[in-house]
Amino acid sequence: MTQKNGTSADPFEIKVGLAKMLCNGVIMDVIDVEQARVAEDAGAVAVMALERVPSDIRRDGGVARMSDPKMIEDIKAAVSIPVMAKVRIGHLAEAQILEAIGIDFIDESEVLTPADPHLHVNKHLFKTPFVCGATDLGEALRRINEGAALMRTKGEAGTGNIIEAVRHLREIRRNIDELKTLSAEGMTARAEQYRVPLALLNQVRESGQLPVPNFAAGGVATPADAALCRQLGAETVFVGSGIFKSENPPLLAKAVVQATCFYNDPKKLLEVSRGLGQAMRGLEISKIAPEGLLANRGW
């Protein structure tokens, strides 16, 4: 809808609005039209269109870039739910291309090879909302200050191992709770340490939560993983490699969607967890060389 005469718009509020519409849903990585349809049929609330899922990027190595716009457009045409796509950290030209496609959400993602060694994209310059990853409160607030309308944990993408996502969810919670214990000087020092405006930090201290929704991502492989993240405060989950690297993607996709909605109902979780076939193989974090850890990307 084009903006009408006499209307006022708070672009950031609208961006956060779409993020809120996704809460309780599941966002699934898909690499083609067929997978996008499986995801939509299973009840995904959005799909992330990318050429290689994180576990393949991890295996193949090389520079991982934004996907071919043609592939993203094909997926956009095939489903009615919102479509997201990834750009490299700091790659504003890739972001401009995705905005020109009319993508619903841009993920400035550590899963791709970073393009800028110092800066992330200035997300206020875009009409398209951005989602970014974080490992702690400082990182989350730097991204929000740059204009991110949605946060997610970085977790450790492509591992099928939930430990890092849990670490990041708990760390952000702990950092927020800690603000209550700080004096005025302590808050000023913390804002400096985090490299964010004091007003933003005060807002978080007041409300006890991030000013935008926070989702879990990076390592979700089972319905129980999704339920765990929700119980730790994530408003929903992204599932990357977990679904389509499993033995029975349609069945697992449905189960993760149900578990995300009924995350606090153990009987329901039991019901949806039965007989799903083999989950993705997974990786132990300690077996990954330090330079292979994606969560360390981003500044």
């Binding site: 809808m1 084009t2 903006q3 009408k4 006499g6 209307t7 006022s8 718009a9 708070d10 509020e13 609208i14 961006k15 956060v16 609005g17 779409l18 809120k20 519409m21 996704l22 309780n24 849903g25 939509e40 049929d41 009840g43 995904a44 609330v45 959005a46 009615s80 739910i81 919102p82 905005e99 009319g102 993508i103 619903d104 959400f105 009409k127 398209t128 909302p129 969607v257 149900q258 909605c261 009924f262």
Partner: protein, 172 residues
């Protein structure tokens, strides 16, 4: 928002949940996803029965679910109000915006947020349905309908801090 007006709220996920409430909001979100849940938990006949006597408000995706006819692409619906809904009519997230909106029955304009909004239109009266009443328009285009105690609007009101429409709904 509703809690601040003194109403008790329940998240309805099953027919058991539905039995505990006296009015229902079908909120914004993704109608495709919500429809799958409604089917899976047998909520369609239950909500249709509920809406015969109780107030129901479909917001954005909820309005798509409540409509008699859903287009682009076509999709099943609850058939509660005599309107059609064109999904994602106003384009992607890029075309979302906030605007003041005058609503029949309210003195002051509300702040309405259109986010990937559907296009709603009245359908001609049929055997089962009279015409739905238009409660608000944006540049001539209807954006808010009422039929009996059923409401359908293409915009969001749950994201701001204006509660005047919620108050009206609680009085239905």
């Amino acid at each position: 928002m509703l809690s601040s007006l003194g109403a008790e709220t329940v998240r309805v996920r099953t027919t058991d949940d539905l039995a505990t409430v006296d009015r229902l909001i079908l909120p914004g979100g993704e109608s495709t996803t919500m429809l799958r849940f409604l089917k899976l938990y047998d909520l369609i006949p239950a909500i249709q029965e509920f809406a015969k006597t109780q107030p129901l408000w479909g917001i954005c995706a909820g309005a798509i679910l409540a409509a008699r006819e859903v287009l682009t692409p076509s999709q099943e619906s609850l058939n509660l109000i005599n309107i059609s809904a064109h999904r994602n009519f106003y384009g992607s997230q890029l075309e979302s915006f906030t605007t003041p909106l005058t609503v029949l029955g309210l003195t002051n304009p509300i702040s309405a947020q259109f986010i990937r909004a559907p296009l709603l239109n009245a359908l001609p009266p049929s055997e089962h349905f009279s015409s739905a009443e238009v409660l608000a328009r944006l540049d001539q285009q209807p954006v808010f309908f009422a039929q009996g105690k059923t409401w359908a609007c293409s915009f969001h009101v749950e994201l701001g801090d204006d509660s005047s429409l919620h108050e009206l709904f609680l009085k239905l």
